[in-house]
Symmetry: C2
Subunit: 139 residues, 2 copies
């Protein structure tokens, strides 16, 4: 779960903040990965569903969002489509491009996983130093 909080030169406070940022990020991603796995979703699939939650995108756009190559996304969408989480629809405007969107099933799964995630994330938030946690807008 964790690269270690290797103590950086104590003089550089910015480096310490960076370390906290990286460490926290690894923790968060570990939680996302675990919650995803409990719903049979890889980290990449979680990201994909999260992105498609509010939009309809072409393959190329999705690849850009994910920072992946089109051939990679093609296979990703293949598997998601086989599981009926997303649907491909040929664009009516451009016969080459594909409009991707969440299926009802995909939407439901995304919502379920998202709720589970919030619950599991609180321990990570609790671990944050007070001054950062205080920036949490709930007060």
């Amino acid at each position: 779960m964790a690269t270690d909080p290797a103590r950086p030169p104590a003089s550089d406070a910015t480096a310490a903040f960076m370390d906290l940022l990286v460490q926290t990020s690894f923790d968060v991603i570990a939680v996302v990965t675990r919650v995803g796995a409990e719903h049979d979703l890889s980290l990449t699939l979680v990201r994909m569903l999260g992105i498609l939650r509010d939009r309809t995108l072409t393959m190329a756009e999705l690849a850009d969002y994910l920072g992946l190559k089109r051939s990679t996304v093609s296979g990703l969408v293949d598997r998601a489509e086989r599981r009926e989480l997303v649907a491909r629809r040929t664009s009516s405007v451009d016969g080459r491009s594909v409009q991707l969107s969440l299926s009802p099933k995909g939407m439901a799964l995304t919502n379920t996983a998202s709720i589970a995630l919030s619950a599991r994330l609180s321990p990570v938030v609790e671990k944050l130093p007070g001054n950062i946690r205080d920036a949490c807008p709930s007060r």
Copy 2:
């Protein structure tokens, strides 16, 4: 651990904070992945080097740190060893177990990548809302 009794219950604002946390984490991991890739290191390899930076571990211990199975770590270490980033040494205490440590080459690469990472992380920090960024020391 214990929630401050004066603190109001979780709200939409907390959910927004969680979203920021997850989004920022994905951004950070993306940077780590990219910087890693520039040094021919996968995200998992980066984590592994980060962990081994300050310690010597057995395969089982490393697997625990990474949250991976031993068989997975075995292959990971195989490839890292082939690249002479880490060294396996049979424990003198227990003939079954292996002591893993960074090689000089692995240590050098870890330091190089770590410096590159700090530089590349600032844009992510810049993107944070002001009140959280203000919690960054030295600012």
